[in-house]
Symmetry: C2
Subunit: 330 residues, 2 copies
């Protein structure tokens, strides 16, 4: 096997840090590493985690490739924002508790390689454009649905950042301007209805209101232990109430996606994150809701699909972001 030029991708989330080593052409990922994020110990501790995971990933890559030396050209990092991409700074991260932290340069110093920084949701969507479900598309809208809802807009092979690197906050699009207060301060944000957290909350609220369901049995009757994943599991097992919770999610998500379809007229909408585990139980009513709401010619030219790189989209996207920031294209 020849010795390819490699870029390390780092995906820093509020829950876990994922690191992998990717050949320049994006053909695969070597030495995938994952640990829970040490949020409570602060930014320096997380930089320490990243440094160790990068070293571990490169070691594992050597073993896989059967070589003693690697040709590593840099590190791409995805992290929660808002951020200043040109300066490589995380300006403020509610999930990590960071403020004005020079993440790019700190990682670069520790690892001894050039580095690039972009928003984590942007990276995930960019990864799906580069090597996943949205390959080759000119206009891509992506939604990352986990604890919250993030998003990204990939246009002509580059991430659209907006005037101050905030663009793509699709989770904080209000779909009910007098609705639920969102933790961002707005009312009725998509995130407040369709995030993993919101799916679990709605499931629990319904049970407390007397819904008939076997969901409590999945968590030893500890309702607070119900997560979105538990809801999908019960739905797979045929629980009608869990199916209803997913159908409601599809309706909320459909209102949001229909807005994005009318606004961007994208070729493809990629849905990322744990929610894709619900499969067609989610995607069939989601597509129907978007069709019901959005302009027909815009719906006709748009596919709505799950991501194809679960767990690694952010790593691939961080690598692609490094390439764009250092060479101008992927």
């Amino acid at each position: 096997m020849t010795n390819p030029r490699l870029i390390v991708g780092v995906d820093i989330g509020g829950t876990k840090v994922v690191v992998g080593t990717v050949p320049e052409d994006g053909s695969t990922v070597f030495g995938l590493q994952q640990v829970p994020t040490r949020v409570a110990d602060g930014a320096d501790a997380v930089v320490g985690q990243v440094t160790r995971l990068v070293a571990n990933s490169l070691e594992a890559t050597k073993t896989t490739l059967g070589v003693k030396q690697l040709d590593v050209i840099g590190v791409g990092i995805g992290a929660p924002g808002p951020m200043d991409i040109a300066r490589g700074m995380v300006l403020m991260s509610p999930n990590l508790g960071w403020r004005d932290f020079p993440l790019r340069d700190r990682v670069s110093e520790e690892v001894g390689l050039p580095a690039a920084l972009d928003n984590d949701a942007n990276c995930a969507v960019f990864g799906e454009w580069w090597m996943g479900a949205a390959r080759g598309a000119h206009t891509v809208i992506g939604l990352t649905i986990g604890t919250g809802i993030g998003g990204g807009f990939v246009l002509g092979g580059d991430i659209y950042h907006g005037a101050s690197d905030i663009a793509g906050e699709f989770g904080h699009m209000s779909i009910d301007s007098t609705g639920r207060r969102c933790k961002c301060g707005n009312y009725g944000c998509l995130e407040a209805y369709a995030s993993g957290t919101a799916i679990a909350s709605r499931a629990i609220e319904g049970i407390e209101a007397g819904a008939e369901t076997r969901l409590p049995a999945y968590v030893g009757d500890h309702l607070e232990a119900i997560t979105a994943q538990v809801v999908y599991e019960a739905a797979r097992d045929g629980d009608d109430y869990a199916l209803e919770v997913i159908k409601d999610t599809a309706h909320f998500l459909g209102a949001g996606v229909a807005n994005l379809v009318n606004i961007f007229n994208p070729e493809i909408v990629v849905i990322l994150g744990g929610v894709t585990a619900a499969g067609d139980r989610l995607f069939a009513p989601l597509r129907a809701e978007v069709t019901r709401r959005a302009f027909r010619p815009a719906v006709q030219s748009c596919r709505i699909v799950p991501g194809e790189l679960p767990g690694t989209a952010g790593v691939f996207g961080a690598v692609a972001a490094f390439k764009v920031q250092t060479t101008g294209s992927v």
Copy 2:
């Protein structure tokens, strides 16, 4: 005076057709012409109107410039969509009742000049970017508020069209997914609350419900004659109820603009159309509502302003669209 190269701009709306002749550098507009659109007489009649107005505008331009010959290089046309821009076709226009009409080529034949076609709202926003309130901005969001609400996204000096030339339907972003049915089939669209039509409807509904106001006196007690313009006039005269209707408009519009600010993180949001007549009575509460709802760093990097080319933004934008379509840039 030297004889500049000229482009004719044509703005076809459901209410009126406006035509003007613009020097290549966009420095001014000559021979502005305007007539009510002969919607009922069909597409050919409107092409006839356009042909006559172009001739009249060019005659008037000769007089103004004091020359016998003009150097006219083409015609830019803005018209309501959806459309196929590459083929110069209006695919479907609910307001005009057209279907699959080859507007660009029909006008080009009649006028004997090369022509280009784009969406009317796109053109208006593009005009404001080229020569109006959004000059020089890299990321521009525009909303045209009249009978309905249209929109456009100008990025890096070009109109963003999306996968099938439908992008920018900001009026059909749902801000209340279980709200008022919109004529597009969706529920709770921004247009259903904040268009000129909706402003008048809300004003009338309130009066019928017993609001104290002098508004009926403006229309000889014929409530159905109340238009948005009448509401602005009464507000200028200090009518508290009319002011309240405008403040409500600012709240609805603010929810929509906040969404666009979170989604696009634009440098500038330009509001176009009759609604700008309400002035700071609208813009002060609008800016406050956006500040309350959208992400702070996105709000801080965004100006929200009225258009500076009332009545001619669409003409300038159609000219700019002609330049982009024929030469690749403005």
